[in-house]
Symmetry: C2
Subunit: 475 residues, 2 copies
């Protein structure tokens, strides 16, 4: 990426995160040129880009300002989950989401689906076709338990982008990141153990805890910087926690990227209390800024971080290819992989390996990062326009999910029911909590290319929300 | 299949199972004609077929006899496993097997690999290619948790061949039968529970018990008729058994088909003691006789049988497509599927569904059944020829595995080590026992089309066996 785009992204993130507020004066061209060691014209290009995106406004002879009428909706509040380990509930609501088959009649804002219609994915389907036509039919044979070496080598190369240095022999290919998460939980914990999680937290990981008999301790989480280290420290002092499970980069559902110093501090805490960290990085490569954020795993020195990821959010989920770097738990992870599915499907591994090797991954990522960032702005705008005043909205720094918080007595389960028959579906907030918190929240997906149909769907969700709020309003 | 082939198979099975011994006179043409309600010429055709296969010898004016020089090696003895629940061991040996990647330099007699080179599989790879080329790229999308409806409907149709009547909505598609087994175990049992298993028993199921914290109680198993019902009844009286896990049709590794009345009796036992049955049917469609044997599930009336199967042995294992019919445990099985892998890869499901729908499955099965049966005879002959006198051999009635038993002090682990460097690999017997029994046994795969290279591999195994036996021989 060129220098001016980099700079524009940096400034844009600061504006979006509220570092500069509406009406604020932005740094002078000269100051930025000195600060970042770039030419004046680079800074000017960056400002023009910000201007195009509605983030900066030039005033003659005064420099650049954040537009005063720029509405940034307030951020969701920091959650106040139960201060004790709980058995995980909400399976029935997750099941409803998991059962929903893709349907052309329903705008599924609730699902975790990326956009797979980009032409930059074409080489992947071509690779699948090519492997099908090979006379030695490699896709029909069992793979071994570790996963294809060619793919592991490509994944190891990819991981370098996040500062993560892993030998390909320390990787295990999995059937999506869900299998990686379940393997990790079972590699580290026994039934009855307590696992600390960010809150809100990915429902798939929490349901894995539930299914395997563990308890979750939800830790308050800041919508811009991630899990509260103070609260986590208190919890580690108070409870016999076995592992910390979280999504620190492009969090699902909040979209934040935990700053690097906080990732390091988290690892130090884990070392002090000798607990494992299960790091879910499925959205990490979809950070809007480049280079992508580092993983916690990249700072890990004693193998206590188990890094889980997949190609489900970056390439295509239907292929079910993920991986885990289980650190010191490799032997146990291999056993868990063996009993879970024996081995991973061969053909998609070969196709993805070909795709990566031919250099198609980076251009695809570049395109998707740009598309998702633009869609985030659009979707945030739609929510600001169509949802009732006071609606709080996350400010994702990567990925394709928006988290929306409504007044405390709002019930997103009722909202979802109200939307049935209107051809729209959302993810209810309560599935992101072990104890059914966040009923007043919902998650919406903005991966698909923006269309009038999607805008209309968001308008419907906003209208149905307003209607429900009027009904519960005592006035 | 025509009448005479049917009749020949029936008689052939009786000869192979020792009902008629070498030198015995076989029933007269007239008697068989009356018994089976077929014409005399049909019986004569059947006898000619048996003659071609070396199973019957005509003597002028005296009728047909079993050739007196026909060598049928003795059957393996009924195992005498530990009479108490045990924690499962042997993971390191299973890992060695699971780690072995396909290699052109090694004849892998130890693996569970079917022959995937048959031209009758061509339509399957064509379907994979066709789906890759579709512009709507269905293979890239998440499937839902249940699996593709089109595939479930085809599987439900297929199940009718085994007398099993299952609604497609009561099926869940899985990532191979291994995931189905792990899902079932977790749907029925809690850590610490006791599961009764046939013995020898499939290592994947037992490792799943181990990984999930259950104990196995190995039940003596007859090499021709399956799990001992008397021993099972005693065990059910004595221990709080939660489930019975077994492979009753074309057992792995013994190859027997449990007779129908014994399947019914097993179910009655399970009802009486109110335990679940986890029935592994992955080899069931590969029975040499037609129609294929019924499943225990086909007699199930109260949903206590969980039927697991896959296309890994019948079509191709690299696709990782299996299924489970979990009966009354459907809700819990869906939860376990969700946390295990979320959903199954989409493209292989669609390709297999197309393959089945177009009617390619039955011709493929017919061909493979014939090939495997012929290879069984060849392999049995090679073992008889190349292994030391007194070697006991199973008489598979389906599938592509031979189980070989050597004197009690023989050590197949040492054999496998001796074979390293000779380009041959076998499966050591101890992985088929929870407690490491059957070290004196080994399993060999006869799926691949017989070649001089394979015969040479068997010869090497026989020679290495003889050498080891001489060394341990006190004389």
């Amino acid at each position: 990426m060129t220098l001016y785009v980099n700079l524009a992204e940096l400034l844009g993130t600061r504006i979006e995160n509220g570092f500069y507020r509406p009406g604020d004066r932005l740094p002078s061209v000269r100051a930025l040129s000195l600060e970042h060691g770039v030419s004046l014209s680079t800074v000017q290009q960056a400002y023009r880009l910000l201007e195009d995106n509605g983030l900066a406004l030039p005033r003659p002879k005064s420099g650049y300002f954040v537009p005063a009428d720029r509405k940034t909706p307030a951020l969701p509040a920091i959650g106040r989950p139960a201060q004790r380990p709980v058995e995980i509930s909400q399976w029935d609501q997750v099941l409803e989401l998991a059962r929903a088959a893709p349907s052309p009649d329903v705008v599924q804002l609730g699902r975790g689906m990326p956009d797979v219609t980009s032409p930059t994915l074409r080489p992947l389907t071509q690779a699948l076709g090519r492997i099908s036509r090979r006379s030695d039919m490699p896709g029909l044979y069992y793979d071994n338990i570790h996963g294809r070496r060619c793919l592991r080598e490509q994944v190891a190369r990819l991981l370098l982008d996040s500062g993560t240095n892993i030998d390909s022999d320390d990787l295990v290919i999995t059937t999506g990141a869900q299998e990686a998460l379940a393997i990790c939980i079972r590699s580290v914990c026994q039934p009855g153990d307590i696992v600390a999680v960010d809150s809100p937290s990915f429902h798939g990981a929490m349901q894995a805890l539930k299914g395997l008999g563990m308890k979750a301790l939800e830790i308050p989480t800041d919508p811009l910087t991630g899990i509260s280290l103070d609260a986590l420290e208190l919890a580690l002092e108070q409870w016999p926690i076995k592992a910390i499970q979280l999504t620190p980069s492009c969090n699902n559902p909040l979209g934040y990227i935990m700053p690097e110093d906080r990732k390091r501090a988290l690892l130090t805490l884990a070392q002090r209390f000798d607990v494992a960290i299960i790091e879910d990085d499925v959205y990490g490569d979809l950070a809007y800024t480049y280079p992508r954020p580092r993983t916690i795993k990249s700072f890990d020195e004693d193998g206590r971080v188990l890094l889980c990821s997949s190609f489900s959010k970056t390439l295509a989920p239907g292929l079910r290819v993920g991986w885990v770097a289980p650190g010191r738990y490799l032997d146990r992870a291999l056993h868990m992989k063996y009993i879970s599915t024996g081995s991973t499907a061969t053909q998609p591994q070969l196709a993805i390996s070909d795709f990566l090797k031919a250099g198609h991954y980076e251009p695809h990522m570049r395109r998707m990062r740009g598309q998702y960032q633009r869609s985030r702005d659009l979707m945030t705008g739609w929510v600001t326009r169509y949802f009732p005043e006071g609606t709080r909205v996350s400010r994702p720094q990567g990925g394709f999910m928006l988290w929306i918080e409504l007044p405390e007595d709002f019930d997103s389960l009722r909202l979802n029911r109200a939307l049935q028959g209107q051809g729209v579906q959302i993810a209810v907030g309560s599935i992101f909590s072990a104890s059914g918190k966040y009923r007043n929240c919902l998650r919406m997906n903005f991966a698909a290319k923006p269309t009038a149909q999607i805008e209309d769907a968001v308008r419907k969700v906003g209208a149905a929300t307003a209607l429900l709020m009027q009904r519960t309003d005592p006035a």
